[in-house]
């Protein structure tokens, strides 16, 4: 096959897997062609791992010439199947993990320039080595790539203070669908010279081009960090406390992670070795995290003062403050264990939604009711980044009724997404669209926005070869 031969001539034999070759290691192939949650499996003509930007550009040019679709994959940790090719088997899967060099750390400009295939944790560590913080942080940080984080505009646990991946990027290098290299690797805080292409590529999930490198913002390492687990009598109180914390801590507030009592209960059941420092007598809990540049002593004084005021004003019912780094990590570990406990108690229907913070309480009430009407006894597994209005509003089958529950995902999505839309929210807060929500997007997004998105897709990728079947199609047959 001449495509395979041509790919080999670009990247070398070692870095091309023939998707249809008889001798191809099927396990190796499957690792690339199945998403990590095991929900999507695709096929590909070839899996190619270029070593640098020029090789990426050459591969893209080759595919454009052969009119072969390209799916880009980083660490394969996406939540919406965005990095898994379709079943047609016509695509080339381009894996960026060999573009794994830290190109530059500038401690005066407080920036780091990295290749797209760098693992997020590698970027965090390179920053820490220079006494700087790269604040993007999420569950998959040990295996996701920074290119994937940018392509999906990843969120995580420190968005409240530092923003999404989008907010941390100053410049990008991108290979266009024609195989040209767009050199936008600027490290400037301000640049008003024309259209904001950086933010167009960020979050476009590989459908407009391939991010090959990025210049990212660094921050000073905090001097002191404080963590508390607190209990609320109601969701309204949790929201009140969020605003109270924003006022009291301002930009020092880094995390405000909401958890329903049920979430902590399943963590406790699945991982009894994890100490639960509060009783589960209250319906809602939150992990509050603050970081400051002042002394440990001063940070602690501020943290305690605000929490005590909240307690005295009956906003929080109970609280435990971490007394050490270990205790702080233990509290975070409870929060991070929720998805693992969820998987143990039975595969559920996952939602990643956001609504305006002021509307979260009625949204949860109404949507819980609608779901109970639809399927009496469903379990609500609600947690997430309250400070961003972003809930992982998950749904579990009633006990003993797991069989066939996942098949009802479409019905559940419709109920939740309709409600999200009623509350002016988003059907995907931080996970993106991928293939999971592509077909639903036009039902939940302003039609003028869909039309503008499609015009951009057509203008930049007229052959429709960049990650087809994800986010948006170049062609709308109803158009």
């Amino acid at each position: 096959m001449s495509l395979i031969k041509d790919l080999i001539s670009i990247v070398g034999e070692e870095y091309v897997l023939n998707g249809k070759g008889k001798d191809t290691d099927q396990d190796e192939l499957a690792a690339y062609l199945t998403d990590w949650r095991g929900r999507y499996t695709g096929r590909a003509q070839a899996i190619v791992r270029p070593a640098n930007t020029q090789e990426v550009a050459d591969v893209v040019k080759l595919c454009a010439r052969y009119e072969v679709p390209i799916v880009t994959q980083g660490g394969n940790t996406g939540m919406c199947g965005g990095a898994t090719p379709s079943n047609k088997g016509d695509a080339v899967l381009l894996v960026t993990t060999r573009l794994n060099h830290i190109l530059n750390v500038d401690t005066v400009n407080d920036t780091i320039t990295v290749q797209a295939g760098c693992i997020l944790q590698q970027v965090q560590e390179a920053a820490a080595k220079q006494d700087r913080l790269f604040p993007l942080s999420l569950g998959a940080e040990g295996s996701c790539t920074i290119g994937g984080n940018l392509a999906t505009n990843a969120g995580g646990t420190q968005v409240l203070r530092y923003g999404n991946a989008r907010d941390l990027a100053l410049g990008l290098e991108v290979v266009t669908p024609e195989g040209e290299v767009l050199n936008g690797l600027r490290s400037l805080r301000k640049d008003n010279t024309g259209y904001d292409l950086r933010n167009l590529y960020i979050g476009s999930e590989g459908t407009l081009g391939i991010i090959t490198a990025a210049t990212l913002k660094l921050y000073p390492q905090p001097v002191a960090e404080c963590t508390a687990l607190v209990a609320f009598e109601s969701l309204d109180d949790a929201l009140y406390m969020l605003n109270y914390s924003r006022k009291g801590f301002a930009s020092k507030l880094e995390g405000f992670e909401l958890m329903s009592a049920y979430c902590l209960q399943i963590v406790n059941e699945c991982f009894p070795e994890q100490h639960l420092p509060l009783s589960l007598d209250h319906p809602w809990y939150a992990l509050i995290h603050m970081a400051d540049s002042d002394s440990e002593e001063q940070a602690r004084a501020t943290f305690q003062r605000v929490l005590e005021e909240a307690f005295n004003n009956d906003i929080i019912q109970d609280a435990v403050l971490a007394e050490s780094i270990q205790q702080s990590q233990d509290l975070w570990h409870l929060r991070e264990s929720i998805p693992l406990a969820e998987a143990i108690v039975g595969k559920g229907i996952k939602n990643d939604i956001s609504v305006p913070i002021s509307r979260i309480a009625p949204f949860v009430d109404d949507t819980n009711t609608a779901l109970q009407t639809w399927y009496p006894g469903v379990r609500h597994i609600i947690f997430g980044h309250l400070g961003d209005g972003n809930l992982h509003y998950n749904i579990g089958a009633p006990e003993g009724e797991e069989e066939g529950f996942l098949a009802k995902q479409e019905e559940a999505f419709k109920i939740v997404f309709d409600s999200v839309t009623d509350y002016d929210g988003s059907i995907s807060a931080e996970h993106g669209i991928g293939q999971l929500k592509k077909d639903m997007l036009p039902d939940y997004k302003d039609e003028v926005e869909i039309s503008v998105m499609r015009k951009i897709k057509r203008a930049l990728d007229p052959q429709g070869l960049m990650n087809p079947g994800k986010v948006i199609d170049s062609v709308d047959f109803d158009y």
Copy 2:
């Protein structure tokens, strides 16, 4: 004329000025058709002031039908002629100032939704009334509109902490070149449902559509603010102090405004009534501003500690700390008076550039030298937002040689912009491109970026009617 008649039928006679009418008040006309700096004067068929989004959409549809270009204007305070039509006289000038309603303030979601024609100060005041801060702040805030701020991605004095206009916007309503209303007025902190159209419209200077409303982020009002004027022995020391402040104040650092001694000297000469609290024995000065959510006492302790450490470590040579709000305002008044003093001592050539912070010192050295070689005796008027790498690197004629100096602007631009490019900087950090820098842009921007920008312009505005002659043309004859 039937265009005028049709415009009147949309917005009413009172709100249409006939650009060519015999009875049209010429002064009124001139106020719209000349930019505030008096550098550009254009002509228009009509000046139309719609009352709401629907009228904007109807005007745009009408113009599309007549194939008439549209120039959008807010407060007419732009720095690059972006809101002034060309001399052809074929355009309709659409003025947004009647879209001046605050639509909603949500103190739980911490957002404000405003029409595009609201004056920036009006937005700040509406936020303050609810004990919230809308942090965009710049010289023209009493007359510029928020729509213009977004269309040009305005910067200002608090970018270091809160970011540019772009970073403060959550959602936009936009009228497309077809006269459709794109309803993207979301108030969500996280939304990953497709391409980031918001950031594409922000900074596009009216060339892709017309921003008619926006939902913006609010912040808690700070509890305490601290200001100091400090003196440095060198620009390197100023940069060292910037990093020292970032480390010591982290996100509490709101401003780090650099000023050369010469800037303060001309302020002192032009406005002798303003008290200069430090001697001008040092070459560089900076205004450092910090704000905190803790007590006044705690904020002051932190501020003093960091400045004292810097003084003891010989990073700063002299410092005066504001002891009251009045003193803080007086220090800021010195900084804000620089452009006024500049205008008094003679019209100069203004630059609004940025380079990576780590390269500012050699950039200034090299560019000063190049300018002195070009024109011996030129005055360097250097000030700006050091924390953003953004300098107003202005050039004054040698004393007594003002005559004809402005005519040499192109030569000066070339020297400065070539140097900026050598140092990986931007030729427009916060003022935009407009008509002032449009023809130069392709010489200083990556050609693939220019090509992608043009594809987007063509795709979204195929008739080329939105603010033609600004930022980028739909057609490149060399293409």
